[in-house]
Amino acid sequence: MSGDFINLLADLKEEEVLKLTKERLDAKEDPLKILDDAREGMSIVGKRFAGGEYFLPELVFSGELLAQVTNLVKPHLTGEGVQQKKIGKVIIATVAGDIHDIGLNIVDFMLDVNGFEVTNMGVDVPVEKIVKAVKEIKAPVLGLSGFLTPAFDAMKETVEALEKEGLRKGLKIMIGGGQMDDEVCKYAKADAYGKDAMAAVALTKKWYGVE
C-alpha cells in the first residue's frame, strides 16, 4: 500500500492518492507513516523536477496534493510524536516591495519535505522584520525571494542590515525568483543564487552538510 501511495503521489494521481489516503486511515494505519510516505512521494517529484521531467505545474500541483493529504491525516494525529526530527531551521521571505509568493511557497514545502523546519515570513517583508527573525529564530540559512527588479535593492538592504547587526557571520543567504541571477547575488552580497526550488533544497543541504 505504502509503495503504491508513494508512486501515485509522485505521478500526481489525485483521485487515487486521496482514495488511498482515506483507505489507509480507515485501516487505522499510523498517520505518521502516511505523512512520511507523502514526503517520500514529494521527494520523487523534486527529483523529477531537477531532472527536467517535471516543471512548475507539476510542482505546484504536487503541493496541492500534499496539502490535501495532510488535511485528511491531521485529525488522526494524536499529538504524540507529531514533530518528526528536523535537520535544521531555514527562514524564507519575499523582500520588501514584492508580493509574489508562488515560488516562495514551493520552496517552503520542498524544504519541508526534505526535512527542514521552515519559517515562511510571507511577502513584502520589511528589512527590520527579517533582521528580527534571524536574531530570534537563529536559523543559519536565509532564503530571500523576489520576482521583480525592485527586489535587487531590497535584498541588498536586507543583507547590509544583517551585516550591521553583526548577524551575517555564520549565516548563509540564498536568493531566487524571476529577475534574479548570479550578478544580482553578487550585487546583493548574498552567498548563492538558486534557479528554482530544488536548487534551494540543494543549497540548504550543502550548507547543513547533509546528503
Binding site: P57, F61, G97, D124
Partner: protein, 441 residues
Amino acid sequence: MEKQWSEMTWQERREERFKKWLTPAAPISPAMEKLYKERLTRMIKAIKMEIPDRVPMHLAANSFVAYNNGHTLYDVLYDYSLIKPDWIKFLEDYEQDSADAPGFFAARVYELLDYKVNAWPGHGLPKTSTMHNFVEKEYMQADEYDLFMKDPFDFGLRKFTPRTWGAFAPLANIPSLSSYSGLPERLMMMCQDPNFKKLFKAIMEASDENVKYQKVMMECAQESLKRGFPPLMGGVMLAPFDTVADMLRGTSGVVKDMFRQPEKLLESLEIIADNSIKSTVGMVNMARSPIVFVPMHKGADSFMSVPQFEKFYWPTFRKLILGVVNEGCVPMMIIDGSYNEARLKIISELPKSCVIWTMEKTDMALSKKILGNSACIAGNVTAAMLYTQTPEKIKEYAKWLIETCAPGGGYILALGSGIDKCDPKNLHAVVEAGLEYGYYK
C-alpha cells in the same frame, strides 16, 4: 481602382497601416518630420527583415523615467505636474527610434474605484517601491469556465469586474443583463438603488481624475512627437493562456485546471483567442501604430515543459497572432524569462517577418540562429545587467548583441524588460553602443 481591404493580403494591409504610421498624428516641423520618418523607416525595415541604415533602438523605461529626473514612482503617481518634465528629460537624454508616453498608470483613478489587481507605492506597497506589483488571485473560480464560455460579457460584468474593482461590487448582485428585452427598466431599477448611486458617483469622480491623467499623457505623447519620435504601441494583447493564468485563474488555479479539467481550459483558450483578435484589431484601428504589445509570461522555460507549451500555450496563441497579422497588425512579443531551443523552433514556424520577438533572458545568439530567417528579434540588455554592471561592460555587451544579431537585418537593440532604477550611465552605454556600432556598412 484601389484594392479593397477584404481583397488585400496581410502584407498589403500591413503596408496600409505602415503608411498611416509614417504620417505623424499632428503637424510637426519639417526637420522633425524628416527625423520621424528616418527613425520609423529604420523600425519598419527591421520588422520586415530588410537592412536599415542603422540598428533601431527601443528603450522601454517604465518608472526609470521618474528616477532619471530625481523623482520616485510614488512622486509621479500622486503629482501629475512632475510627469511632463521627467518625460522631456528622458526624451532628451536618450536617443532612440520610437517613444510613446511614460509607462505609468493612473493610481488615483485606481484608488477611487478600489482596483484590486495592482499594488503600488503607497497602496499595498511601501512608498519607496519602484514598481507596481500585480495581485494574482483566482478572480474566476474553477467551476466558472462554463459561465465564462457561454457568456463572456455576463461573466465580465457580474463576476470579474466586481471582484477586481471594489467600487463595482454592486454589479455582483444584479440579474443578468444579457436579455433582449427589459433592459431600460432594469437600468432604471439600478439607478434607484443607493449602492448604485454610490457607484455612479465613484465612476464620475474617477472619470474626472482620469481626464486629468490622460491630459498629461497626451501632452507627453505630443512632446515625443515634437521631437520626431514615432509612437510604437498601437495596442496590447495577451496570449490566451496568459489571459487565464494571469487574469482569471492565477498560476495556482490554472495549474490545477491543467490536471483536473484540461478540456475546459483548452476550450476557453479558443474563445479567448477569437475574442482577442477582434478587440486587438479594434484597438489598432484607432491607433497610429500597428504594433501590438504582447507581454508573455507563463509559457517560458521555467514555467512549463515543451509538451505543455505545445498543448496549452502555443496553438491558441498562434491563432491569435495570425488573426491580428492577417489584419495588418504587427505583434511585438516580449518573452519574459527565457525560451530554449525547442521553444524557439516552435515559434519560428510563423510566416516570415510578421512579428517581433523581444527577448528578456533568452540566449540571443541562439535566437538569431533559430529565428534569423523567421522574424525580427529584439533585446536583451537585462534589468539585472543595468542594475549591477558598469557602463563599459554594458557597452561591450550591447556591441556583442549588435555583432551577433544585426547581420542581415531583423534586429532591434532593446532592453530585456522595463526598468525602474539603474545608473543612467548604464542606459547611456546602450545608446552609445547603438550609435557607434549599429550602422550597416
